[in-house]
């Protein structure tokens, strides 16, 4: 299967992310290793971004949650 390379550059698409407060916040193992606060927004990103090997719904669901929050 071909790997997608046009993913949006968000923490929710980074290989360092794990679910924390689904879908709005993720746990970043890279930041934890660096001794920084590992809980970051799903739609944030940093210079250490590295694309996930298998896509998930985190970004899609976080965008939905953000948009529905804006409408309110």
């Amino acid at each position: 299967m071909k790997r997608r390379t046009n993913l949006k550059r968000f923490c929710g698409n980074c290989d360092g992310h794990n679910s924390y407060d689904y879908p709005s916040r993720v746990f970043c193992s890279t930041r934890h290793w660096q001794g920084k606060d590992p809980i970051v927004d799903t739609l944030w990103n940093c210079d250490d971004w590295n694309q996930v090997s298998q896509e998930c719904y985190c970004v899609r669901e976080a965008e939905k949650a953000r948009d529905s929050h804006k409408q309110k």
Binding site: N18, Y20, Y22, F27, S29, H32, W33, G35, Q54, C58
Partner: protein
Amino acid sequence: MRREDYLRNPVEHMKLDAPLTVDQLMQQFARSGSFGAGRLSTACKIFEGMLRDKDCTVFLAVSGAVVPAGLRMLIGNLIRRRLIDVLVCTGASMVHDAIEAVGGRHYKGSWVKDDRELYKYHIFRIYDVLVPEEAYVRLDYRLSDIYGEIALERKGEALSSREFAWELGKRLNDESSILRAAYEADTPIFMPAVRDSEFGFIHWLHSSQRNVKAVLNVDAFKEVPELCSICSQSPKNGMIVLGGGVPRNAVQSSVLASKKGLDYAVVVTMDRPETGGLSGSTLEETISWGKMKGEADNVMVIGDIMIVFPLMTASVIERLGPDFSRVPVMSKFWRSQK
């Protein structure tokens, strides 16, 4: 044997024409005495026998995901009521316990799920039980700190899996937790395959941090003399196995190493003996090693732990009655470090 010896006990047919308690049902199973019903009623009798035998230390060996499936409080209550004396389990069982102790939950699901979709939603499946990834991640994050705390307190000393479980129980503030119950009751928990669980992988998370002050050290061999010493000092040893695997082997081999042999054994499993694996091996095979005495009360119940063990426990608790209390024989020689 003479011919009439074979034909002494006729099958008594079950009468289910009135409301029954669990133990009344088990008594009907005993009167039938056949197939799974007979084995289950024998298992109840043997478990009751272990508990009424003042010289017997009762080991519960647990493998498989019975904690997320709903046996967490049952096992915790057995510990608090002193109806088991030693828990030997996989690391994963205590990870599942700790997940709930820090606020995570397991969810009822179905084995017919789209696992590719579950992956995309960060949901893990254990047959028909679902657990969101964040339940693990929140535990990982918390344990990463706890590991650091323990390492600092112990000043580099290597812990056995039993000491590790004790340190965890001390820090988990949840009355329903198995680890907490064991800590409060001073019941040892041994996890002979502790690194093959999230506890092991969290260690990587904890130890690879750039600013880590002290690294937790768990010694896989340190528990061997601890477990063997309990078997050796107990006048009698009884084992209940849920599943099999490493926990069953750890109990059986400790009893063998301490030159005792089991006096009582109940194994609940759905595994088969033909593969040569321990989980499905018969208790007769265990006799050949000297791990169980030839005259031991023993039975193997082929069935789903989630059905068999609650029935067995409910029946035995009913038989023992509300006034039954038990002082574990190992309380004469066992104290965890405080």
